[in-house]
């Protein structure tokens, strides 16, 4: 290392703004910017291009270069969790549609027995997706409904069970306890079944996303993240920080409010969009 600073302060400051504004967090951003200061350039090399490549490599080094798919082993239970309004119910509908198109027999469980019209909302989605639904009366214990759903899966041979849960803030311990009970119930009624626990996160979420992912992971484990509303202007950089500190990968992304607006997460596309 020559210790010679080769990149202009002005360029570094522009890059810092892009990184921080992506919600990647000040610590990862500062680290990347500090590294860049001492970049050696070949004569005539396009500096901006080279720097972008370096940053891309750094971020891909954190999130991985390849998509991590959902489990391919059936029957499969998918538990959809996350804070209020993040896009869980919509994602349940979109995922149900995807598996239905793949000719899988799908059951969705309306385990948000708390919020106004939550069951009615999922009913409309299950019709769009062309799948079956199990629901309980309002105020039913969601774990009890999970038990009934599990029984139905065994009886009728469903290949995919997608469980919609009520939105909950991670700092509410009684609600996190309820989630633990739901997970235990899955284990009881369908022992040994393949289980994906998907944390649905709004791409507009800032640094609090780290605490969200941490507490949901500590409570019941998280096998993947669905990053929703990436059709907005937020870049979802918080997912990079979460991957670094908790090891949880983004598996799917939400790109709109329609039933087809769900895609596999592509690290390359994500990083390129982040640096635009």
């Amino acid at each position: 290392i020559t210790g010679k600073e080769n990149v202009s302060e002005e360029l570094l400051s522009e890059l810092e703004e892009i990184l921080v504004r992506s919600d990647i967090g000040v610590h990862i951003s500062d680290r990347i910017i500090l590294d860049l200061k001492y970049t050696n350039f070949k004569p005539g090399e396009d500096r901006i291009l080279k720097i972008k490549e370096i940053i891309e490599k750094r971020i891909l080094g954190i999130i991985g270069e390849d998509n991590v798919p959902l489990s391919g082993s059936f029957p499969l239970v998918i538990l959809m969790i996350g804070v209020n309004g993040s896009g869980k119910t919509s994602t349940v509908g979109k995922l149900a549609f995807k598996y239905h198109k793949e000719n899988k027999k799908v059951l969705v469980a309306a385990c948000d027995t708390f919020r106004a019209a939550a069951v009615e909302q999922l009913e409309i989605w299950k019709t769009r997706a062309g799948v079956d639904i199990i629901k309980g009366k309002e105020g039913t214990d969601p774990a009890a409904l999970v038990y009934d759903a599990g029984k139905l899966v065994s009886e009728k041979g469903y290949q995919v069970l997608i469980i919609d849960t009520a939105g909950r803030l991670h700092n509410k311990s009684n609600l996190m306890e309820e989630l633990k009970k739901i997970k235990r119930t899955v284990g009881k009624v369908l022992p040994g079944i393949s289980l994906e626990i998907l944390l649905v996160m709004d791409a507009t979420c800032g640094q609090n996303g780290i605490q969200q992912a941490k507490l949901f992971k500590e409570a019941i484990g998280v096998t993947g993240i669905v990053l929703t509303k990436l059709d907005g202007t937020s870049k979802g950089g918080i997912a990079v920080s979460i991957k670094e500190s908790l090891g949880v990968p983004v598996k799917l992304i939400g790109l709109g409010e329609g039933v087809e607006d769900l895609e596999d997460f592509s690290p390359g596309d994500f990083v390129r969009a982040l640096l635009e």
Partner: protein, 291 residues
């Protein structure tokens, strides 16, 4: 948190009788990190830190070895001052009904907040009517209907594809039923969705709401300003309601919104029940942002 970090930084300053520029830089760095960790807008953070630096070098703030508490107090006071006064009320018009329109991105809490605000106004002696203008989201009208029933507040719904017509008919209904205010719940939408933003513009020019409130999730990151600016320039917003403050998000978006868009935060959502609507207290928000 900032308090501990500042203590570490200022401890190194003990025994020095004059602050160097480097000492001040150390303090400013900690404040910058705290702000960005709290989701305060990048440029708002930069301006705030630059302003403190000018004052520090101008000897107004860090005039001698300042203990961490004094710096903390200074920063907290500055943020409190920037957050403006507590203006937690709706300005009622002399021509009934007063029309209040809720707007914002998807999932921020508009429908729930519409009902919370209606309940709050009822307790203040008003007679609100809630109107379901979200004709897109599955079961959105049903959601508002259930919320209205739970607190005995009338809800106007219509099976129509034209929001402006529904809104106009609801005003007629309000007058016929002696309601002195109308709360319009609208569909969540992206600030970059031209068609949906036009729907709001047409609603505004068609029924002239007295108050347009932007409903913002308190855990919003760096895009808070871009979103608010767009809603403000296309529609004009009169105030902000910050939701889900019962979570542990630091809520830096509050400072960014107030300083850039310069509209007051009128209320905060602090839970899922309809009673969970509080006045906005700038000093409480300030200490929350600093962590």
């Amino acid at each position: 948190n900032l308090s501990n970090r500042l203590q570490d930084v200022t401890r190194k300053l003990l025994g020095q009788n004059k602050l160097s520029e480097k000492n001040i830089e150390d303090v400013l760095r900690e404040i910058r990190v705290a702000f960005l960790e709290a989701d305060v807008d990048y440029k708002v953070t930069k301006d705030f830190v630059d302003a403190i630096k000018v004052k520090a070098l101008g000897q107004e703030v860090l005039v001698s070895v300042t203990p961490a508490q004094l710096v903390m107090k200074y920063v907290a006071d500055e943020i409190t001052h920037l957050l403006g006064d507590n203006i937690s009320r709706i300005k009622f018009s002399d021509n009934a009904p007063t029309i209040i329109m809720m707007a914002g991105l998807q999932g921020t809490g508009k429908t729930t907040t519409t009902a919370k605000l209606a309940l709050h106004l009822t307790k203040e002696g008003h007679r609100p009517l809630m109107v379901g203008l979200d004709i897109y989201r599955p079961a959105a009208q049903e959601q508002l209907k259930v919320l209205g029933a739970s607190c005995n507040i009338p809800v106007y719904l219509e099976d129509s594809k034209n929001c402006l017509n529904i809104a106009k008919n609801s005003l007629k209904y309000a007058r016929e039923n002696n309601c002195d205010c109308v709360l319009l719940d609208t569909a969540g939408r992206l600030h970059i969705d031209e068609e949906m933003m036009n729907e709001l513009k047409e609603l505004k020019s068609g029924i002239s709401p007295h108050e347009i409130l932007l409903v913002v999730d308190s855990m919003t990151g760096q895009q808070a300003v871009a979103v608010a600016k767009e809603f403000n320039s296309l529609l004009g917003i009169d105030g902000v309601i910050l939701t889900k403050l019962d979570g542990d998000a630091r809520g830096g978006a509050a400072l960014s919104l107030r300083t850039v868009v310069q509209r007051p935060i009128k209320f905060v959502g602090v839970g899922e029940k309809l009673e969970d609507l509080d006045s906005f207290y700038p000093d409480r928000m300030a200490s929350r942002i600093i962590g």
